[in-house]
């Protein structure tokens, strides 16, 4: 069996890798984008992903890990399907980012850097995401949401639940936590 058939990359990711490598005078230049693209597909940098990238670039796994550990977007553990990144840097802080971050925790019933039990959402506090004039801003995976207030949080979560096919009453402004408590009461 050739190493390619052992690949944990999808054919699309493998093709992207091949195209990427041809861009540079040295193969290694593909490393940082490759780590991120592989993470997008697999969800995190699993041991398998690290080994695969190391093999494809002719690097040691240690070398790949050494580079990966430097970049804040790269993770070695799975995140939620929708990773909510709340910017709390100065411009967002001045316009209520911590109140927003708190509301996300309440609505999701998780703490800072937590993941919901169903794996749908994870929440983290991040540094400046480059939306300072439209603060406070968040990113859900790669999508920006800006000029937010805590009251908009429930609606954002409802939209993502709907996108994931999780049944929810979109018109409801009742948060996840409140909904969970209500379900508990009825049970």
């Amino acid at each position: 069996m050739s190493p390619e058939t052992l690949s944990i990359f999808s054919p699309a990711l493998a093709a992207r890798f091949d195209a990427l490598v041809s861009n540079y005078p040295v193969k290694r230049s593909a490393l940082v984008p490759m780590l991120l693209y592989a993470q997008d597909e697999v969800g995190y940098l699993s041991d398998g992903v690290i080994a695969e990238i190391a093999r494809r670039l002719g690097l040691t796994e240690l070398d790949v890990r050494n580079v990966a550990s430097y970049y804040s977007m790269l993770r070695f553990k799975p995140a939620g399907r929708y990773n909510i990144q709340v910017c709390t840097n100065i411009c967002c802080m001045l316009r209520g980012a911590y109140e927003l971050y708190d509301r996300f925790q309440e609505e999701l019933n998780i703490g800072p850097h937590g993941t919901t039990p169903d794996g749908l959402f994870s929440l983290e506090e991040v540094e400046c995401i480059g939306a300072c004039s439209w603060a406070p801003a968040i990113q859900v995976n790669y999508s920006f949401h800006d000029e937010l207030t805590p009251d908009l949080v429930a609606g954002i979560l409802a939209d993502y639940r709907a996108q994931a096919g999780v049944p929810t009453d979109r018109s409801s402004s009742v948060g996840w936590k409140a909904q969970a408590e209500r379900t508990k009461e009825h049970a």
């Binding site: 861009n23 540079y24 005078p25 040295v26 290694r28 230049s29 593909a30 490393l31 940082v32 984008p33 780590l35 991120l36 670039l57 050494n66 580079v67 430097y70 970049y71 804040s72 977007m73 790269l74 709390t88 840097n89 100065i90 411009c91 802080m93 001045l94 316009r95 911590y98 109140e99 708190d102 800072p112 850097h113 506090e125 540094e127 400046c128 995401i129 480059g130 939306a131 300072c132 004039s133 439209w134 603060a135 990113q139 790669y142 999508s143 920006f144 800006d146 000029e147």
Partner: protein, 437 residues
């Protein structure tokens, strides 16, 4: 979608195509795009460099170095390939201008990159965007593909016989990579740790070849400089500070947004007229004039022209154009703590004054803000910050130290107020106390 703003005092040069669908190549051409590069193809490299020099265009990333001068440092003959590197790692808190350029006018970046290549004799350009800007990277990638399809990029650009390739690249989350040599390391597939200088990138840069590295706004400005003519562009600004720049108004301002104003525009006017004054009818306490690493200004210090020289004379820096407005309900100690928390998180750890300095500053400020400070801490914070200055490989150490020194010097009384027992004089009911992750 980030909201666009406008004000009658604006002089729209770089932002003239914002909101006009110019990410589409046909629309970009319709709006006069790719004419400047054609003009340059008919000229000599020296003409381009001299034109950019004469325009007094200075780097929009923060340092404000003359762009034409930077280009002129690249050796004419080089055994190794030369490169153009566009820095779109925009990460300085308070700065979101490149975000709009990539969104609304990606072809201006491409056109500027080609012109820079013609000026220094490079055949390859890299456009590096921060990892968080994925949707913008996709817009730029589409624009590059369209430019290739038209023959504006490739082996024979515009039928001139000249070759120029553009490669786009994503980062993966690192403020430090915005430093030029760290950016080159990242592009070479390594940790984003700065290189010791000299040699400077113009001589030994990416893959060891001579490299021009410019901020995305600088590069996007170049086609306009060529189109307008150096003298007319220079005329828009103040002496030695040509043209206009994108100012990102944020914080407690009535009308936040990215405004394009002439260099030297009065800061007070920018806040009270362009930005509509302080939000919620509050009073002004402080302004960070050029991104989080620039020393804070007090309200009595803001009657100044916003160009590199005048802001420098006022003891701060024009930096990256991020104007952060702070009202009188804000705790400066908390603001200083959040600022240093950022640098502590982003320090690459390569050199000790920055790695240890930012960490200790964060620890001291956290304790101080929580109400456990001692009188001696105020001087200690300042002493520590002053001893980081100029002692690090790259400017990140300075970027952390400079604002800290200014916060302590200019708002000492607020630090002293934290000593009188209460955790924070500005603590509000229901507002969580700041903890830095």
């Amino acid at each position: 979608m980030p909201r666009l703003v406008s004000h009658p005092d604006e002089v729209k040069i770089v932002s003239r195509r914002f909101g006009q669908g110019a990410a589409n190549i046909d629309r970009y051409i319709e709006l006069g795009g790719y004419e400047s590069v054609k003009k340059c193809l008919a000229q000599t490299p020296d003409w381009i460099v001299n034109e950019v020099k004469a325009s007094n265009l200075r780097g929009r990333g923060g340092a404000g170095f003359s762009t034409g001068m930077k280009w002129s440092f690249v050796p004419k003959q080089s055994p190794k390939p030369k490169y153009i590197l566009v820095n779109g790692d925009e990460s300085e808190p308070g700065t979101c201008k490149d975000h709009l350029i990539f969104l609304h006018d990606p072809h201006a970046v491409i056109e500027g990159t080609i012109i820079a290549g013609l000026a220094v004799g490079a055949k390859t350009g890299f456009i590096y965007l921060r990892g968080e800007y994925r949707y913008l990277l996709e817009i730029v990638e589409k624009a590059v593909a369209d430019a290739y399809a038209r023959g504006f990029l490739g082996k024979n650009i515009f039928g001139s016989g000249t070759e120029f390739e553009i490669v786009t690249q994503t980062g993966a989350g690192a403020y430090e990579v915005g430093e030029e040599s760290a950016l080159m390391e990242s592009l070479e597939g390594k940790r984003g740790i700065p290189r010791i200088k000299p040699p400077f990138p113009a001589v030994v840069g990416l893959y060891g070849g001579p490299t021009v590295i410019n901020n995305a706004e600088t590069i996007a400005t170049v086609p306009h400089v060529i189109a307008t003519g150096a003298a007319a562009y220079a005329e828009l600004g103040t002496p030695r500070n040509g043209g206009t720049r994108l100012f990102c108004l944020s914080g407690h301002i009535q009308r936040p947004g990215v405004y394009e104003l002439p260099m030297g525009y009065n800061l007070k006017k920018m806040i009270y007229e362009v930005g509509g004054g302080i939000a919620n009818g509050n009073q002004l306490k402080a302004v960070v004039p050029g991104g989080s690493s620039t020393p804070v200004l007090r309200p009595e210090e803001i009657d100044i022209g916003m160009d590199f020289d005048q802001v420098g004379k006022a003891g701060s820096m024009l930096g990256s154009g991020g104007v952060v407005v702070i009202d009188d309900h804000t705790c400066i100690v908390e603001f200083a703590l959040r600022t240093i928390g950022f640098y502590q998180h982003e320090s690459c750890g390569w050199c000790i004054p920055c790695r240890e300095g930012t960490d200790w500053l964060q620890k001291s400020l956290t304790r101080f803000h929580a109400g456990f400070g001692k009188a001696a801490d105020i001087d200690n914070i300042q002493y520590l910050a002053e001893n980081m200055l100029g002692r690090t490989f790259c400017p990140l150490g300075d970027a952390a130290a400079m604002p800290t020194i200014a916060f302590v010097k200019k708002f000492r009384k607020e630090f002293e107020d934290h000593l009188s027992g209460k955790p924070c004089p500005f603590a509000r009911e229901g507002v969580p106390q700041l903890t830095v992750a």
